[in-house]
Structure formats: C-alpha cells, structure tokens
C-alpha cells in the first residue's frame, strides 16, 4: 500500500489539474507514466480513496464540495511521504529491467533444460546401456544352449530388441555430445568396448580414463567408473543363479566372459593437491545412476590413472548411519563382521572412540553463530532443531577430506614409483600365510600401507574413527582377498611399537591373530590424539623418507594433464 501511495502522491503533485473540469485521475491517461501492470492498481487505489472521501462527505452532509477540494481531501489519504519508488517504477527504468529479467529466466530455463538432458544421459542412458549389453550377452548364451524352439524364438526376439536398445542408447549419447567430437569419440570407444565379448579390465580402465579426461576438458561435470565381474559365460543368464545356489556347483562351459557395469557420478568438486611441485587431481563425486550396486569403498584410484575419485555418496551413507546409531544408543556392529563374536570387547571401545569425535563436533557446533541463529529461529517458529545433522555433515566433510589424502598418496606413490623396503616381503609372507601373492598384489599391499600412514597423518581430526574403519577391514575374513586387509595387519603393530619407542628400522611382526589385532587396536585407542604424529614418525623410520607433504592448492582454473597413452 505504501508503494502505491508514494506513486499516487507523486503523480498528483506533478499533474496540472485544470480548474473546474472532471477529475483526470479517474481516467487512465495520467497513469501511463508508470510501468504496465501497476497502472490499474494505482487507478484502483485512487478510486478507492476518492470513494471513501465522497462517502465521508455524504455522511457529514457535505455533498456539495468542489472537485478541487475533493482532490485535496483525497490527497490527504496518501500519507506515505516521498520515497524511491516513484523514481524506480517508471517504464523507462522498469521495462528494460523486466525484459532483462525475462531473458535471464528464459536463458536459465534453457540451460537447466540442457543440463537435465545431459544429466539424463549419465543417470539413465549410460547405466542402461551397460545393462542392455549384459542382457544381450546373456541372451546370446541362452540362445546357444536352448533346444526348445518356442523358447528359442522368444530369446531371438529378445536379442533383436536388446540390439536395437543398445544401438538407440549409443546414438542418444553420441547425439547429445554431437558438438564435442572429442567426447563423442571417447564415449563411443568406451561403449563399444564393453560390448565386446572379452576386453581385459586394464584395457577398459584406459578407455574410461580417456573418456573422463575428455569430459573434464569439456567441463562436463560427470564421471564414469566401471564395476567389473568375470564369470563363466554359461553362468551369464540370471536364471542359472538358483540352480547354482541350491543345486550345487554346475559345470560351466569353461569360456570366461567379462561383464562391466558403467556407474555414473556427478562431480561435485575437484581439487588439486600439491606434493613436491607436482599437482594431483581428485574428483569428489556423487553417485548418479540408481543401480542397486554398492562398492563399499570411500575412494579409489585405478591402476595407471593419474586422478583420484572420492565417493561422497558412500561417505555420506556411512557417516550418517553411524551418527544416527550413536545418537539412538544402538549397538553398532560395524567393527566385527556379522556372526563373529566380539571376544575382546572391541565394539564398546569403537563406540566410545566414535562418540568422542561426534560429541566434540557437537560441542564445536554449539559455539557457532549458525547454530545460535538456528536456535533463535526454532524458538521463534516453534520448530525443532537438532545438532545431529550438523555433526553428521561435518563428519562427512572430514571423512571425505581424509579419504582424499589417502587416494592422493596412491597417485604420489605411482608417480614416484614407490620402492619396496627390504623388510616388506618378509612381513607380507608372514601375514599372508598360504594365500598366494602375485607381484601386483604385493605392490598393492605396499601402496595401501603407505596410504594408510598418510590417511592417519592427515586425518587427525577424525581420531579414533579412522582406527575403527581400519580395524573393521582387517577383522573381516571376507576381505582376505583385499590388499587393505594385510596392510592394516602390518600397520597396527608398527604404530603400536612406534609409540612405545621400540620401533627400529625393521618393523615388528604383523598382527597374525585376532588377539594381536586386538592388542594393538586397544593400545592405539588410548593414543588416538597423537596418532597423526606416530604415523609420520613411523613412516620416516621405515621407508626411510619423510611422509610426503601434501597441500591442497588454491588453483581455481581447470587444468588437465595429457591423458595416458
């Protein structure tokens, strides 16, 4: 109302109402000075005011008042005073602004539309493509072994349908990037490769890397990562599962098929980490495809890749579930695998370590202005406020940060070609027992060991949470095929002895039994506050070189190294 009054006041002051004529403010003419859209509103307001004056006069039996006087009386109704609105809401000012706004909105909608189409390519088309390729391969296997002509006919129809689907999805992807030939070329190479019967994973990883590099160069904020599964070709059809599960092992054809699922991610952020004047790139990615597949990892670097991937969705899920479990007082079972008794009472220690971190986060958050503001807001609105989401979010950020350092250490070790220390092989032989160890696996164990030192050194704020995560890996016998399992069995006794001051240039025996793991874990749980320094000291003593200094750079512009050949 005040704006309208200001405008009307201005209009009446500026208009020259001829004496003894009809009131011109009742006509549309004087309102043309204002922007369309508010003219009628102003006129209506004027008429309302005038009507009110006339009714007042009538009630006081003064119905014989001149037009000028009536207008003066009307004017007294607009007591808003002067303001900026009369100057702003002129068509000369408003119309260009309005047009600009309209254009911006249209442009925004158009960009949003294009982004949605691009998102759909990664969210829907690429995962659907790998799914269709799998169905096609499984149908071809089923057709080879099927003797019933009716079923064979159905299978053949399905093969035709899937072939068309694969081609259609491939064309969709190509069409979307038709203006970026590089992206089309790299994505097409990748899509075609997974259609092949047998392409080795290392070859496919190269194609994935090329595609991801091209996306990055072209500022397409998406990332692709494959999940690989190798099986006997005759086991590809879904229907063979129940027979194999409940009917005992079935004899396969002997021919091996490699199946790839293409998982897609949105790149929320990318960062460069600097070590020794070399920059290393890390992508902070969020899972986009809705495939019900869980990788159970927080970050990864593919062999030969020069960038790291941090999986924010997995980090968010684990952090949120653990903080919620803590707040509910639920017993967490993440340290010991399901079905394994907690003989050494490690779970309760793990819970205490974890709650310490979350409590500390909550304490810190309570001091923040943001939380105080939220408290005031909740009091005003009567809504409930909880610290838990904030603590969870902070935990998620910290876990992601620490994971990035772990992955970057892999990049550094690959780049610098980390040499195997003389003691390493002996330790690995002890901890692996009868498990056959290939040179690649051995290297992988060494890299993980090195990365765990960095992880702890740069994840000080997480204190015991990292210790819990590491213990959970090495306590799970189902992870015996993972290099991390063995690295942690070496890491714990090393850190234990380092803090006791008895570590020499040769590390202690690895933790071979549960009691060894428990002993070191319990010891380290009492020294989590200094675990970052223990890690640095131990690394320096055993490798023997200082733990790489890794710094987050402030590079703003996007830059990319030449892709691997």
């Amino acid at each position: 109302m005040a704006i309208r009054d200001q405008l009307l006041q201005k209009q009446i002051q500026n208009s020259n109402q001829p004496q003894s004529t009809a009131d011109i403010h009742e006509t549309p003419a004087p309102y043309k000075r204002w922007m369309p859209g508010i003219r009628s509103l102003l006129r209506l307001r004027y008429l309302n005011a005038k009507e009110s004056v006339l009714i007042d006069n009538k009630q006081s039996l003064r119905y014989d008042v001149s037009t000028d006087e009536i207008q003066q009386q009307v004017q007294t109704k607009f007591t808003a005073g002067s303001g900026i609105w009369p100057a702003v809401l002129r068509p000369a000012v408003v119309l260009p602004l309005f047009l600009l706004l309209l254009l911006a909105a249209a442009f925004g909608l158009w960009r949003s539309h294009l982004a949605s189409i691009e998102r759909a390519v990664f969210k829907n088309d690429i995962p659907a493509y790998s799914d269709s390729v799998y169905i096609l391969k499984a149908s071809l296997v089923a057709a080879d072994t099927q003797i019933n002509p009716e079923i064979l006919e159905q299978i053949n129809q399905n093969i035709e349908k899937q072939t068309a689907e694969v081609e259609s999805l491939r064309n969709n992807v190509r069409a979307h990037f038709s203006e970026s030939p590089g992206v089309v070329e790299k994505l097409t190479a990748l899509l075609d490769a997974i259609k092949e019967k047998e392409i080795p994973p290392e070859e496919l990883y190269k194609l994935v890397k090329l595609a991801n590099d091209e996306l990055f160069v072209n500022r397409v904020p998406y990332y692709i990562s494959p999940m690989v599964e190798t099986a006997d070709c005759s086991h590809l059809p879904l229907s063979s599962f129940l027979t194999r599960l409940f009917g005992g092992a079935t004899q396969g054809s002997g021919e091996r098929c490699v199946i790839y699922a293409l998982l897609s991610f949105h790149v929320d952020e990318f960062r460069y980490y600097n070590n020794d004047s070399e920059d290393h790139l890390a992508f902070f990615t969020r899972r986009l495809d809705g495939l019900p597949l869980n990788e159970n990892i927080l970050g990864k670097v593919h062999l030969g890749d020069d960038s790291a991937q941090i999986l924010l969705s997995n980090i968010d899920a684990t952090s949120a579930s653990s903080t919620v479990a803590l707040s509910d007082g639920q017993v967490q079972t993440k340290l010991m695998p399901q079905g394994m008794p907690d003989v050494y009472g490690l779970e309760s220690i793990a819970r205490r370590l974890q709650s310490r971190v979350v409590d500390q986060y909550a304490d810190e958050l309570q001091q923040s202005w943001k939380w105080k503001f939220e408290q005031v807001w909740s009091r005003l609105t009567g809504s409930e406020s909880s610290l838990l989401p904030h603590a969870t979010a902070k935990l998620q950020r910290r876990v992601a940060d620490a994971t990035a350092f772990h992955e970057v250490q892999h990049l550094i070790d690959q780049f610098n070609d980390l040499q195997e220390p003389p003691w390493f092989n002996d330790l690995l032989t002890q901890v692996a027992g009868n498990t056959p160890i290939t040179p690649q696996f051995s290297n992988h164990v060494l890299w993980e060991l090195s990365a765990f030192f960095t992880h702890l050194a740069y994840g000080k704020e997480l204190k015991g949470i990292l210790l819990n995560e590491f213990a959970a890996i090495t306590l799970n016998p189902l992870l015996r095929d993972q290099p991390h399992y063995y690295s942690i069995r070496m890491l714990f006794p090393i850190l234990h002895q380092m803090n006791e001051g008895t570590l020499g240039s040769i590390p202690p025996d690895p933790a071979l039994t549960l009691s060894d793991v428990a002993r070191s874990y319990k010891y380290l749980a009492q020294h989590v506050d200094s675990i970052d320094q223990i890690s640095r000291d131990a690394y320096e003593q055993l490798f023997p070189t200082a733990l790489p200094e890794i710094k987050l750079t402030d590079i703003q512009q996007r830059k990319i190294r030449p892709p691997l050949q």
Partner: protein, 505 residues
C-alpha cells in the same frame, strides 16, 4: 436604532438568499465557504439535486472500480495460464529424473557376490571355522535366515597356515541381548577329576600375586597352568575364580579393557557349571565396566542376560544355588540400573521360585533354601520400605516370622524397618511399640546402628522435617552426626530420648 438595525439585517439576509439561490446552480465548480459564520439557505429541491449528483458520482466510481478489478483478474488469469503452460512445457520436454534404474545387470552382479559369499561360508563350515544351526537353505526365503544365523569363529582372524584351535567354544547358554563370545581355549574341556591340591596351590599363588597388585603375573599363572597341566572341566570353578580375581585386579588399576577380557574368560570358563555363581559374578563385572563407561544400554543388556541365565538354570536344573544369585541380580538393579522396583521384582521372583522348590528339595538343602528365603525376605522388606509400600512390608514381616531360620538379630532388623514405616505412616503408637521391643535388647548404640536402616531413617528425616519442632529436629541432626562419626556415643539413652520425642512420648 433597533428598528433600523432589524430592517438592515432583513435586507442583508434577502441578499444572501438571492446570491445563494443563484450560486446553487454553480456549486459544481465554485468553492463554498463553510466557516462557522457562513450561512446559506438551500431549498429542498436544490439539496436533493446535490445529493443525487453526489450519489451518481459515487456510483460512477464504483462502476469504474469494478471494471478495473475485472480487468486485473483477466490479466492475472492470462499470466497464470501462460506460466502454467510454460511450466508444463518445461516439465514435458525435460527428461524425467525419477526414471527407474535398470535391474538386470545389478541383480546378476549381486548374485555373483552372493554365490561367492555362500561358497566361502560353506567352506568355513566344512573346516569347522563357522557354525550353523540350520540346514543348508533350499530357497531364497531360507537363505537370508541361514546367513543371519551363521556364527564365525574368531579363529578365522588367523592366517590360514596357523594352527586352528578348532571350533568356536561351545557354551550351553547364550543371551541375545549381550552375547559373550567364548573361544574354545577359554573353556576348560579336558576330562579327568579335579586336582584339589593343585587347585589350592594355584589359588594361593594367585592370592599372593593379586595382593601385590601384579595382575599380569596372574595372567601368566593361568596360562602356564594351562600349558603345564591343562585346565580340566572339573577345574572350571578354579579357573573362573582366578580370572575374576585378575579382572578385579585390573579394575583396581582402572584398566577396564583387560578387566573386561578376564571377566569374559571367567564367564566362558564357568557358564557350563550347574552353579551359575561365577558366571553371574562375571556378568556383574562386565555390567559394572559398562556402567563405568556410561554405556547404560549395555548395563541393561547384561542385567537382562543375567536374569535370562538364572531362568535358564531354573528351567534346566532348579537348585538352591541358583536362587542365591537372585540376590546378586537384585544388587545389579539396585547399584547399576538404579531401579528399585526391578530389584524388588527379581527378588520376588527368586522368593517365589524358592517356595516352588521347597516341596521337592532334598533334606540337606532345606536349610540353605530357608537361608536364601530369609535374605530375600529381608531385602524385600527394605525394598518395600524404600518405595514406601507399607502393605507388602507388613505382610512380608508376618511371612518372615514363620521362617525357622529367623534369628533374634534379623527380627530386630526387620522391626527396625517397621519402625521407620510406622513413622512414615504416622503410626506413632505402633512405632513406639516396636521401639520398645528393640531398644532394651541392645547394650550399646554401636550395636544398634548395625541393624538400623539408616537410609530409610535419613529419607524419613528429610521428608518429615517440616512437621517437627526445631528442637527435635536439632536433636535428630546431632544424633545423626554423632552416629556417622568413627566413634559413635556408646549410649542408648540419647537415642531413646530422640525417638521418644519423635514418637510423641
């Protein structure tokens, strides 16, 4: 003068009338003076005309307002329609983000993982590294249940070349709320009679070591005994007693991690015994540790498991030794969960079980049974007093009097409780009667203080403070302070005086 004045005034009035009559035709354009001294006379016809014009003007403005409002509504409707159309077009031409993800490939990959997992578990079961209570699953419905109940041996944590110590330790009782896992090596399993001298020797050695605060030495003692002689099934109590004493030793050093480990081992060593005493003590120790680290969920779990353990023993082998442990269980509630009502509930349960057992008890067990009943009855009376439940308190006193094991001292304690309840209920006469029976039986106040329920006294004193005179209150306060000192006054006279004052004498 006055005549001239009247004439001239009448002339002026006529002039004004004429001017106003003329001016009436111009009222639409000319301002009209409305000052307090202005005067005009308007004919009725003129007034009606002006009024009609005024009314018309208001009507015209009303019509204009309606027209503008209609115009505004029309424009808003058109704009909203255009916006809706744009939103619809945008939504229609933008790919949907809630498209269902394809399932086939993901399902197949999950199947492969599941097959590997099941195959691995089958292998562990075949090697004795995992245990299953269910037969292998035959369909998908059974599969999840089968996977959920698989128990993995802690030996799986050892490298494959390590000697496996066999199957996970078997214990006859396991509680879901707080399972206490047992390794096979923690359960004495060798056959043979108990070696009494050897047991005495090792117990004495343990006492000496623990007295010196050397917890690790006792740990070694247990291990060395095992390697030299091997713990036999018949020596389970000795082993569990040693483990409990080590655990207590670690508790004194505030090493709760090691204390927890040894309470667990004590539990594993003793849980197969027909007498749950050591297992209960171990569980009590574990609950105490959970209490110290403020893990109240775990405290409740251990308390629940302790009750389940006693229920299990009562079902399988009802024995007076089992009933004894209801006293420990009540103590757990009293000390750790702080729930007096639960404490009373489990004691009532123990008392009921004792009554059930009485008709079938062997003769040599009767005395023990009555003794347990007596303790439960006395504790229950104190519990009822704490909650201020006078009716069951008096009933139980009657019941207590029929217990042949009731001795003079216990009777006096019970009567002391009744005095307190009487005071709470303001039954001064009854309180005086009971006091008169109690006080003459004591030679000294120190003797009396040992049987008097000071907790209840303090509660009563606080609760009834406002209803007493300041002098009596001061007297009570002095007495209470004197009794709390190391050397309470050796005189009953003072107490008698206080209680008489309180009792109204």
């Amino acid at each position: 003068m006055s005549k001239r004045t009247t004439r001239s005034a009448a002339g002026r009035l006529q002039q004004i009338r004429e001017r106003f009559f003329h001016a009436d035709e111009e009222t639409a354009t000319k301002p009209i003076a409305t000052g307090h001294n202005a005067y005009r006379e308007i004919t009725e016809e003129t007034r009606d005309r002006s009024l009609q014009r005024h009314e018309r003007k208001i009507a015209v403005i009303g019509d204009l307002q309606d027209a503008i409002r209609l115009k505004l509504i029309r424009r808003v409707t058109v704009c909203a329609g255009l916006l809706l159309l744009a939103a619809f077009a945008y939504k229609n031409f933008t790919p949907s983000s809630d498209q269902q993800a394809p399932q086939s490939l993901a399902t197949w990959i999950e199947q492969q993982k599941m097959l590997r997992q099941v195959s691995q578990i089958q292998q562990w079961i075949n090697n004795g590294e995992a245990q299953s209570d269910l037969p292998p699953p035959q369909n998908l419905e059974e599969l999840q249940a089968w996977l959920d109940q698989i128990k993995l041996s802690p030996d799986l944590q050892n490298p494959e070349e390590e000697e496996s110590s066999g199957e996970p330790g078997f214990v006859p009782f396991q509680c879901a709320a707080a399972p206490i896992p047992c390794l096979a090596e923690d359960i004495p399993g060798a056959a043979g009679d108990g070696r009494i001298e050897l047991s005495h020797l090792v117990r004495n050695a343990n006492s000496m070591l623990v007295e010196n605060g050397n917890c690790e030495a006792t740990v070694n003692l247990i291990g060395e005994y095992d390697s030299m002689f091997g713990w036999r099934e018949t020596e389970a109590i000795t082993k569990s007693l040693l483990e409990i004493s080590v655990a207590k030793c670690f508790m004194e050093d505030e090493d709760t991690n090691n204390a927890q480990l040894h309470y667990t081992r004590a539990y594993c060593a003793s849980v197969s015994n027909p007498d749950p005493h050591e297992a209960m003590n171990s569980m009590y120790g574990l609950a105490k540790i959970a209490f110290l680290v403020q893990d109240m969920q775990q405290v409740n779990n251990y308390t629940q498991c302790s009750e389940d353990l006693l229920d299990y023993h009562l079902q399988t082998e009802p024995d007076v030794n089992t009933l004894n442990n209801y006293i420990t269980l009540a103590l757990m509630h009293y000390e750790l969960t702080g729930d007096t009502r639960e404490s009373i509930r489990v004691e009532e349960k123990g008392l009921a079980a004792a009554r059930d057992l009485a008709p079938t008890a062997e003769e040599y067990q009767i005395e023990d049974l009555l003794e347990v009943m007596l303790i439960l009855q006395m504790n229950l009376m104190e519990g009822y007093l704490t909650l201020g439940e006078s009716e069951p308190l008096y009933e139980l006193f009657e019941d207590l009097k029929s217990n042949p094991m009731l001795e003079d001292g216990d009777r006096l304690v019970a009567q002391g409780l009744l005095v307190m309840q009487d005071l709470v209920d303001n039954k001064k006469e009854s309180a005086r009667n009971h006091l008169n029976r109690i006080i003459p039986r004591y030679q000294a106040l120190t003797e009396f203080t040992t049987v008097w329920s000071w907790d209840a006294f303090d509660r009563w004193q606080e609760k009834t403070k406002s209803s007493r005179s300041a002098a009596v209150d001061e007297l009570i306060k002095e007495l209470r302070i004197a009794l709390a000192s190391d050397r309470p006054p050796d005189s009953l006279q003072r107490l008698t005086k206080v209680l008489s004052a309180v009792g109204g004498n």
